[in-house]
Symmetry: C2
Subunit: 203 residues, 2 copies
DNA sequence: ACCTAACCATACCGGTCGGTATACTTGCAG
DNA sequence: CTGCAAGTATACCGACCGGTATGGTTAGGT
C-alpha cells in the first residue's frame, strides 16, 4: 500500500473526491467500492490509487473535505443572515444546520463514518472528533461575542442540543426535532443573556 | 432467499444472536460476515440461514434484541435507584445511559446501524426509530408522573440532550459530555417542576 | 526533441462476500 | 419403530472486494 498524506489535487483528483463524497455519504464507507467511484467519476482505479494511495486515504480526504464544506456552509450562512452579534446570530447556527439537513437527509456524515471506523485505528477518526469540537467551539465563540458569562459550559450545552437534533431528526424519524431544538436553544440563549444582564449577586 | 419473520429461538439461535450482537456492535454490520458469526458462535452458516433466513433477517433480530436489552437496562436501573416519582428519577435515565455507555464504548448501536442502513429499505430502520421514540416517551412519562406541565415538549427536550450526549461522548471524543448533559437536564427538570409549582398566571 | 506528470484501458491477483446444496448425526414425540 | 426437527460438516457458487501490473496516450516544460 502506498501512503499519500498530501494528495496532489489535480482536476481528476477533485472529480474523484467529489464523487466519493456523494457516494460515501449516500451509501456508507464499506458499501461503496473503489471501482464504482472510479466509474462514476469517469476515471480508473489506477488514477484513484495514484492520487490517494488507498481507499483509507480516500476516506480520510473525504472526511477532510466534508469538514471544510460544513464549516464554510455554517459560517457563511451565519455571516449572511446575522452579521451582528446577537441572540439570533447564535440561533442562526441551528438554522444553518436546518438548511444543511434539507440537502443531507442521511444524518451526520461524521457520525455515520464514526459508526464504521470506531475501533479501527483509522486516521479519519481524529477528523470526526475535530468537526464535533469545531461546531461546539463555534457556539462558544458566538456566546463569548455576546458577553454571556461562562460561555464554555453554555456553548457545550447548545452543541449537545445541536447533535441531538440531528439524531432525532434522522435515525429517530422525528420531524419536529429541529423545531424542538430551536425552541430549547432560544430559551438557553435567553437564560445566558439574562445571567449577563443580572450577574449573580446572591452567591 | 428465505424470509423468516419470526425466528424460532432454539438454543443455538440464541447463541447465534448473542454472538451477532457483540460482533455487529463492535465492528459494524457490513464489516462482519456471516461465516465469522457462525465460527464464533460455534455453529455453521447453514444453521444461521435455517433460523434467520438471511443476513438481513439476522440484523433485524439483532436490532430487536438490542432494543429490548436497552429498555430493560434503563427501566430496571431507574426502578432500582429511584423507585419514587421525583426529579432524581427523571435524571436517573441519564445515569442509566452513563452506566450503559461504560460498557458500550462505540456509540449508539442504533445510530450506528442507521448509518449503514439509511436509504436501503431495510426492516431494521423502523426498529431504530422505535427505540429513539421509546426513550423519548420514557422521559415524557416520568415528567408526567411528576405533574410537570407540557410534559411532551419538555420530555422531547430531555431526549435531545440525551442523544446529543452520546454523540459528543463517542464521535466527539468529549469525556465531559455526560456531565454537561446531566447538569443541563437537571436545570431543565427544575424549570419544569417550577412551572408546575407556580403555574402561569401572567398570560 | 525529450522528459515527465497525468491520465486511460484492461487484465489480473488472492481473498471474502452472501447464500445454497448435500449428506450425516442426534434426540425426541407419535 | 418411525418421522421430523435441529444441528454439524463441508464443499461449492457467482459476485465483488481492495489493490497491483502493464502498456499506451496526451500535453506542457525545458
Amino acid at each position: 500500500m502506498t501512503t499519500i498524506t498530501q494528495p496532489r489535487m489535480t482536476p481528476t483528483a477533485i472529480r474523484i473526491l467529489e464523487t466519493a463524497e456523494g457516494l460515501f455519504y449516500a451509501h456508507g464507507l464499506r458499501a461503496v467500492g473503489v471501482e464504482r467511484i472510479a466509474d462514476e467519476a469517469g476515471t480508473t482505479k489506477k488514477t484513484i490509487y495514484d492520487r490517494f494511495g488507498s481507499k483509507d486515504g480516500l476516506i480520510t480526504a473525504y472526511l477532510r473535505q466534508r469538514c471544510d464544506r460544513w464549516h464554510s456552509h455554517a459560517t457563511s450562512y451565519v455571516e449572511e443572515h446575522e452579521p451582528e452579534p446577537s441572540r439570533a446570530r447564535v440561533l442562526a447556527v441551528l438554522d444553518a444546520l436546518d438548511s444543511w439537513m434539507a440537502v443531507n437527509r442521511r444524518g451526520c456524515g461524521f457520525v455515520n463514518a464514526y459508526a464504521e471506523l470506531a475501533g479501527t485505528g483509522h486516521n479519519g477518526l481524529s477528523i470526526i472528533a475535530e468537526e464535533k469540537i469545531w461546531t461546539r467551539d463555534y457556539y462558544i465563540g458566538l456566546l463569548t461575542e455576546l458577553g454571556v458569562p461562562d460561555p464554555g459550559p453554555r456553548g457545550r450545552e447548545l452543541a449537545l442540543v445541536h447533535e441531538g437534533a440531528i439524531v432525532q431528526l434522522t435515525a429517530g424519524a422525528q420531524p419536529e426535532a429541529m423545531a424542538d431544538a430551536r425552541e430549547l436553544m432560544r430559551r438557553l440563549i435567553d437564560d445566558g443573556v439574562a445571567a449577563e444582564e443580572a450577574p449573580a449577586t446572591w452567591g
